[in-house]
Structures are given as structure tokens and as C-alpha cells.
């Protein structure tokens, strides 16, 4: 088990390295004159050159990359070119917003999609048709369009929740709740549709297995068979889908944070990437990939725990 985790972490580090090299190379291609952009058109050329030299941009790209890499390995992601903010601090300030969205969405998705999926898979009939229609709609409609409709109905028309803005949970818990509720609902719809569909499919599969019939023949009651045996066997594939949804969520968070005016990592991505702020972009890409690697690792460990056959010594 330990060696499995270590191997996965090693593979993850290799992946991070490859992606960092790739991103840095790509980011050096367009050669934006950062000094000129910062100081404006009127600035004298020697001042611009001095600014570029101060940022280290007069050196070859490879040297710049190695420099960045050396610092990044020590946990130093530098400062933003345009705002001189410390990159780590800038991200750390905005991470709680995005994390509370992610955790909220994952919890809501996990609970609701399991309930819906198991219910549809065991009962079939009308519940099943409802879940099917919901899944197709949730999949078919672009997430941000659904979000816009939700804003229009619940924030603009009914005025139940604020349309934009964010409040930290330490400031006011109810305030925080009211600002994250709509974003979480908006993001959850798509992922519930995907995961519930998968849960339903695997529940139906498992219900057809021989061992379920044998358990019935042992005289165990149906609820016990469903909640102990069927759910456990059906959750491995569902977890895999949940993990994949998480990667998609990172993209969805960009749009949702922008729509609700939440000061999270997603809206930060939009602002800084459009300006070409390389230190920030690099850090954002790295943290995203780390997040994805960690999620995949957790999902694999959970799947191994649920399904002993998949366990790797």
C-alpha cells in the first residue's frame, strides 16, 4: 500500500515537472515586452530595459525556467509581474473561497447522486425515468447557462440570495452560507447528473450479480443487501466518475466565480492569465495539477479499499 502511494507520488512529481517545462516553454514563445507594458508607451527605453532586467527577463528562457524551478521546489513561486504581490500569498488569500465551493459541491454531489442513483437503480420505474431525464438535461445544458438561469430566478427575480459578492465564514456564517449556496447549487447540477447516472448503472449491474441472488437465498432482507453489499460494490466506478467530475469542476469554478463575483482562484485565473502574468499562471497551473493528482490518488485509494481485487500490494 505504502509503496503504491509512493510510486503514485513519484509519477505525479514527474508529471508536474513535464507540465511545468511545457507551460514555461509555451509561455516564453510570444515574448511580451513586460517592462514596456508596465511602464507604459511613454517610458524611456533604458528604463524599460532596466525593469526587464530587474524581473530577470533579459536572460535566455531556459535559464529563467531553471531559476523558477529552483525556487518553486523550495516553495517560492516569486512575485506577480504586474502587481508585485507574493504569488503564494495571493493564491492563499483566494483559495478558501474556491475550496469551500469544491468541498460543498463534492459533498452535495456525493450524497444526492448516491441517493438518486441507488433509488433509481433499485426501484426502477418512474424514479428511474426522472433520474434519466435529469441526467440528460444536466449533461446537455452548458453549466454556465444553467447558472445564469439560476441567478435570474433566485437572485434577481425572487431575491432570495445575493446575486454577487462573498462573505468569509469567520465574518458571518449565515452571510457566507447565503453567498455560496447558489454557486454550489449551480456547480452541483451537472456533476450530480453525471455521477447519479453512473451510480444507477452500476447498481443495476450489481443487482444482476450472482452473489446478490445468493445473499437473497441466505434470507437477508433487501435493504441490508442493497445498503451493505450493492452500494459498496457499485461505489467504485461511481467514485472514479466523481474524481473525473472534480477535474471538470475546476473549469466550472472559473465561470461560476466570475458570474457570482466570488474572489476565488477561478476568477483570479481569468484576470491574471489574460494579462500574461507568468509567475501567477505557472503557480496556478502547478496547483491545479497537484490538486488533480491528489484527487486521483485519493480516489484510487478509496477504490482499492472498496474493491479488494483492485488493491495493489
Amino acid at each position: 500500500m505504502l509503496s503504491f502511494i509512493l510510486r503514485r507520488i513519484a509519477a505525479g512529481v514527474a508529471l508536474l515537472f513535464v507540465i511545468s517545462l511545457l507551460s514555461y516553454t509555451l509561455l516564453s514563445i510570444p515574448h511580451i515586452d513586460v517592462g514596456r507594458q508596465l511602464l507604459g508607451h511613454g517610458a524611456a527605453q533604458d528604463l524599460v530595459d532596466a525593469k526587464n532586467a530587474a524581473l530577470g527577463l533579459d536572460r535566455p528562457a531556459l535559464v529563467q525556467y531553471l531559476d523558477w524551478l529552483g525556487a518553486a521546489v523550495r516553495g517560492d513561486f516569486g512575485t506577480s509581474w504586474f502587481t508585485s504581490e507574493n504569488v503564494l500569498r495571493a493564491i492563499a488569500n483566494r483559495l478558501p473561497v474556491t475550496l469551500s465551493l469544491m468541498i460543498g459541491v463534492t459533498l452535495v454531489t456525493a450524497v444526492l447522486s448516491f441517493l438518486l442513483g441507488v433509488w433509481a437503480g433499485v426501484r426502477r420505474g418512474a424514479v428511474d425515468r426522472f433520474v434519466q431525464v435529469f441526467a440528460v438535461l444536466g449533461y446537455a445544458l452548458p453549466g454556465f447557462l444553467v447558472t445564469l438561469v439560476i441567478v435570474l430566478v433566485f437572485a434577481v427575480r425572487l431575491n432570495w440570495f445575493p446575486a454577487i459578492g462573498y462573505m468569509g465564514p469567520s465574518q458571518s456564517f449565515t452571510g457566507w452560507l447565503s453567498t455560496v449556496t447558489l454557486p454550489v447549487i449551480s456547480l452541483s447540477i451537472g456533476s450530480i447528473a453525471g455521477v447519479a447516472q453512473q451510480v444507477r448503472g452500476s447498481v443495476i449491474d450489481v443487482m444482476r450479480q450472482d452473489y446478490v441472488r445468493t445473499l437473497r437465498a441466505r434470507g437477508l432482507p433487501p435493504w441490508r443487501i442493497v445498503f451493505v453489499h450493492v452500494v459498496r460494490n457499485a461505489s467504485a466506478p461511481a467514485l472514479a466518475v466523481l474524481g473525473m467530475q472534480f477535474v471538470g469542476l475546476l473549469g466550472g469554478a472559473v465561470l461560476v466565480e466570475q458570474i457570482f463575483g466570488l474572489p476565488g482562484v477561478g476568477s483570479m485565473t481569468v484576470t491574471y492569465t489574460t494579462r500574461g502574468d507568468v509567475p501567477i499562471i505557472m503557480a496556478l497551473v502547478m496547483f491545479t495539477v497537484i490538486g488533480v493528482i491528489l484527487i486521483n490518488l485519493v480516489v484510487d485509494i478509496l477504490i482499492g479499499w472498496l474493491n479488494p481485487k483492485a488493491r495493489i500490494a
Binding site: A140, P142, L145, G251, P308
Partner: protein, 554 residues
């Protein structure tokens, strides 16, 4: 086209065709150029010649919708083309040849799939500039893995099929094989995937434009939504048309994909016709050992099992099992013997039901018995030994917990006692290291061992009647003999009645006191094992016997 008969598919296809046509005809249908603005008309409602009204800059909404569709759909087409060109050939190569190319490509694909598309697109905008077409090429790269995986998976499967080997042996070149046999198999899934990916591409692209990352002032649906969103308090209805266009288009694509899947893929799984022969041959009831008096332990009379659509698969079966005897139920697969066994246990598949007749166990009628009361009998009075040992153990739980669970539930024992009892049972079925087996998972033990575990499970709550469905079929010969020996010993020691379902006449000769032969849902012959095996009366029994023991019979 079968698609035309699928209502949802037809509607989606028509809708998409209408959207594409309208967008292509944009210059003709637009009342004015999409960029023409007149501030005087800002937020004006529909007017003559401007059926959808004007936006915040006084531009005609219909014109922007039509021209916007060009950009939105055009972008999706580019992304799709890139994804197809990259994904399909590489998937074919990787699936067909495997080897280093497969490993390398799969590694790259996993890498790409780990990247959140939206973040990459935003980052590439910083690198490559704001031209939407370029971003759509990047999007093509990002969705190409879905085609690669799909094609690679299918091709790798087909590659192992016999007919591809046959084609190879007969000297066809790889190119011929790929174009004649493999492209046909991947065509339908690719078409479905195209519809799905087109929907995703349109959503993602509109999302980007919504963020204001489009190409400046050329109209797109996403940009229109963005503009509408900025004015959401003042004119919420601005969102209606671009939202509708986007939602309907991507929705229609996904529904079309679902319809295509129904039409193209479900052909293979159309319900097959009934296997049972028509009811015409009303045979007279065979010489009745059980005609009169009913056995106390198990007595089945005139049992019929029916499935909707298929009709009756078991028709008028009479059977008796007394305490301390083994009765064989013999027949080929599809003869209804397993259905008979399942109805005694009350574990018929979802749609099957006992349509007629009577089953009594220890004098209690179980046809029409409420499920809860029937369940109380299972395990404690009547128990089941299944056919395929490995698939009848839950792979996610240890052997021990699977034995302990019913013991605790049915007998109400505490965990420690139940564990002790489970270990005793494992010893009873002649497992040498009970503790180790107790702690193992099903995949860690052999088939013979698994069958012993299942027998232990069946014996765990001291039943009086054992229904064994082909208990040795899946085992190799030596293990078969051991398991049969074990069953006989348990039966004698506990004075069990056993109904042994089998197609193996050797097993019948070895083990059974009496035997009933089933064919097409009926019992065609019955008697003592010796009688049936040595002097069969029914031609079908003779046929069965001559197939197994040609020398002895002839």
C-alpha cells in the same frame, strides 16, 4: 434511416438542421448587419423587421444571433476536426499494434485528461492571443483523448476477435483488415461521440466567450450572454434568445447522441424470442410416484413459472423431496430446472413469477406467501448452493464476514459466537486452515475452496432442505469428486433432503436416490435413479443417456 422512427432523435436532428441552415443563411435572413448599432434603439423591444428587438447597444438581436451562430458552430467544427484527426488514427494505431506507441500515446492522453480544459484554454489565450479559431484548435487537442480512448478500446477488443485472426491468416494486409473489419466496428461509436463532443465544444467555447475571451466585437452566443448578464437587472430578457439558441443546440446534440446510441447500438441486444416450444405437445403425466401423497419436506404440484413476453418456462412440474433423500433434477440448459429451483427458494429474477401451482415446505404453502415470511424460511429451513462458486461470493467482503452476516442476522448470535460458528463451519466443509480462509477475500481462494465456502454458508443456519444448482459443474474433475463426497456426508450426518439440479448423469448415478428428467419446462420421466438410468422409458432420457454413456447403453 431508423433514426427517423426515434421521436427524440428526429426532433433533435430537425432542430439541428434548422439551426445550421439559419446560420448558413445569416446574410439573407438578417434584417441588418450584426455590428450596426444605434443607441437610440438600445433595449427597444421587437419592431417591424426586427422580430427579436435590440440589445444594450441598439444592435439587432436576430442578426447577432444568426452571425453569432456562425462563429459558435464554426468553432465547434474546428475543434471537432482537430480532435478527430488527432484522436481516431492514433487510437487505431494504438489499439491495433499496441506496443510502445500504445504506451506512449496512453501516457500523453492521461496527461491531457488530467488538465482542466477551462484553465488550459485561459492560459493558452495568454500565450496564443485572443483569436477564437486558434483557441478552438487547442480545444480540439483537449478533447482528442476522448476519441483516442474510445477507438483504442474498441479496436483492441476487436483485434483479439477470431475473425481478425482469420483474416490475418488468410493473408490480408493490415490496411485491408483495418478498412474492411475494424473501421466498420468503430464507425457507430465515433458518430455518437462526435455529437457528444460537439455539444461539449459548444458549451466550452460559449463559456470562454462569456468570460469575455472571444475575438473582440464579432458576435457570438457566449458574448451575447455576457452582454445580457451585465444588464441582468435592467433587461433580464436579453438572456432569452442567446440562452435558448445555446441550450437548444447543445441539448439537441446530446439528445441526438442518445438517440443514435439507441438506434445504432441496441440492435445487438434486442430481446430474443422465446426458447420454449409451443404448448401443443400435451404429454400425459408420467408414471406418478408422487401423484397421491405429498412429501412433508418439499412437495411441488403443477408448478408453472412465467415471464412476460416469453410465456411459461416451467409448466406443470410435480416434485417431492423427503428428509434424508437426494433427488436429482436432470435436463439440459434451458429445460427449466434452475427456474424450478429458484421458485422453491423464492429468488426468481425480477420479472419471473410463479403463475400456477403449489409449493409446500414442511407443510407450509409458499406460493402467495408474503416476501417477508418467505424470507424467514430461507437459510434456516431451505438453503441454496449455487453453480458458479466465484461469482456467488461478494468480492468486496472477506469470506468470514460473508459467513458471519447471515448467522448473526438469522440466528441472532453475537459477533464472537458467530465467528466461532463460522470457523466451525469451515472446518466442517474440510477446509484445512479455517482461520486463513476466514480472513481471505474471494479472489484469494480457489474455485473448489469457494464452493466449500458456499456449502458452509448454506449449512450455516441448519437448514433441512438443500437446493444445489449444478454444484460441481464449474469445478475440475478431482475437486468435483471431493465436493460431491462432502455433500453426501453432510446430507447423511444431518438427515438433509437435497434437490440436486444437474445435467450430469454421472453425478446422478453417484449420488441420487431418485431422479426426475426435465425437458422444455416439463418433467418427462421420473423414478429411482437405478430405474431411470438402467431402463429409461422416455425417448428423451434415452437420448441423454446415449450422449453420456454410449458404450453402456448400446
Amino acid at each position: 434511416m431508423r433514426l427517423l422512427r426515434h421521436p427524440l432523435g428526429l426532433i433533435s436532428a430537425l432542430l439541428l438542421a434548422a439551426v445550421v441552415l439559419a446560420v448558413l443563411l445569416a446574410p439573407v435572413l438578417s434584417p441588418q448587419p450584426p455590428g450596426l448599432s444605434s443607441l437610440r434603439l438600445a433595449f427597444e423591444g421587437p419592431a417591424a423587421g426586427h422580430p427579436l428587438g435590440f440589445d444594450s447597444a441598439g444592435r439587432d438581436i436576430l442578426a447577432r444571433l444568426l452571425y453569432g451562430g456562425r462563429n459558435t458552430l464554426g468553432g465547434a467544427v474546428i475543434a471537432l476536426a482537430v480532435a478527430l484527426v488527432l484522436g481516431v488514427p492514433s487510437g487505431l494505431l494504438a489499439g491495433y499494434y499496441g506496443g510502445w506507441f500504445d504506451s506512449a500515446a496512453s501516457w500523453v492522453v492521461n496527461l491531457v485528461m488530467a488538465l482542466p480544459a477551462m484553465v488550459v484554454l485561459l492560459a493558452s489565450r495568454a500565450i496564443l492571443g485572443s483569436t477564437v479559431w486558434v483557441l478552438m484548435v487547442v480545444l480540439g487537442f483537449l478533447v482528442a483523448p476522448s476519441f483516442f480512448r474510445l477507438v483504442r478500446g474498441i479496436v483492441a477488443n476487436v483485434r483479439r476477435e477470431l475473425y481478425v485472426d482469420a483474416a490475418k491468416v488468410s493473408g490480408l494486409s493490415d490496411t485491408r483488415i483495418v478498412s474492411r473489419h475494424i473501421l466498420i466496428v468503430v464507425r457507430a461509436p465515433i458518430i455518437i461521440q462526435v455529437a457528444l463532443v460537439a455539444g461539449i465544444a459548444i458549451s466550452l467555447q460559449a463559456g470562454l466567450e462569456f468570460l469575455g475571451i472571444g475575438s473582440g466585437d464579432s458576435p457570438t452566443w457566449g458574448a451575447m450572454l455576457n452582454e445580457a448578464f451585465k444588464n441582468i437587472q435592467r433587461a433580464p430578457l436579453l438572456m432569452l434568445w442567446p440562452g435558448l439558441a445555446l441550450g437548444l443546440t447543445s441539448g439537441a446534440l446530446v439528445l441526438l447522441a442518445a438517440a443514435l446510441r439507441d438506434v445504432l447500438e441496441d440492435r445487438a441486444t434486442a430481446p430474443s424470442a422465446s426458447r420454449t416450444a409451443p404448448d401443443a405437445r400435451a404429454t400425459s403425466k408420467p408414471a406418478a410416484v408422487e401423484a397421491g401423497e405429498r412429501a412433508h419436506l418439499l412437495s411441488v404440484r403443477d408448478l408453472a413459472v412465467a415471464y412476460p413476453g416469453t410465456g411459461e418456462v416451467v409448466r406443470g412440474v410435480d416434485l417431492d423431496v423427503r428428509a434424508g433423500e437426494i433427488v436429482g433434477l436432470v435436463g439440459e440448459s434451458g429445460s427449466g430446472k434452475t427456474q424450478t429451483a429458484f421458485s422453491i427458494l423464492g429468488i426468481l429474477p425480477e420479472k419471473g413469477r410463479v403463475s400456477r401451482g403449489s409449493i409446500s415446505i414442511e407443510g407450509q404453502e409458499i406460493v402467495g406467501l408474503p416476501e417477508r415470511a418467505h424470507r424467514a424460511l430461507r437459510g434456516t429451513l431451505v438453503a441454496y448452493v449455487p453453480q458458479e462458486p466465484m461469482s456467488n461470493l461478494d468480492p468486496a467482503f472477506t469470506i468470514g464476514s460473508q459467513l458471519v452476516e447471515p448467522i448473526r442476522y438469522k440466528l441472532g448470535l453475537r459477533r464472537a459466537e458467530a465467528t466461532r460458528r463460522a470457523l466451525d463451519l469451515l472446518r466442517l466443509v474440510e477446509i484445512t486452515d479455517p482461520r486463513r480462509t476466514f480472513d481471505s477475500y474471494p479472489h484469494e481462494i480457489s474455485g473448489g475452496m469457494a464452493q466449500r465456502v458456499l456449502i458452509a454458508g448454506a449449512m450455516s443456519c441448519e437448514p433441512k432442505l438443500l437446493i444445489a444448482d449444478e454444484p460441481t459443474t464449474a469445478l475440475d474433475v478431482r475437486v468435483q469428486a471431493e465436493v460431491l463426497g462432502l455433500l453426501r456426508r453432510l446430507q447423511r450426518d444431518n438427515d438433509l433432503g437435497v434437490l440436486l439440479v444437474t445435467h450430469n448423469l454421472g453425478v446422478v448415478a453417484d449420488l441420487c436416490d431418485r431422479v426426475a428428467v426435465m425437458r422444455e419446462g416439463r418433467i418427462v420421466e421420473r423414478g429411482t435413479a437405478e430405474q431411470v438410468l438402467s431402463t429409461p422409458r422416455d425417448p428423451y432420457t434415452r437420448e441423454l443417456l446415449s450422449a453420456v454413456l454410449p458404450l453402456e447403453v448400446n
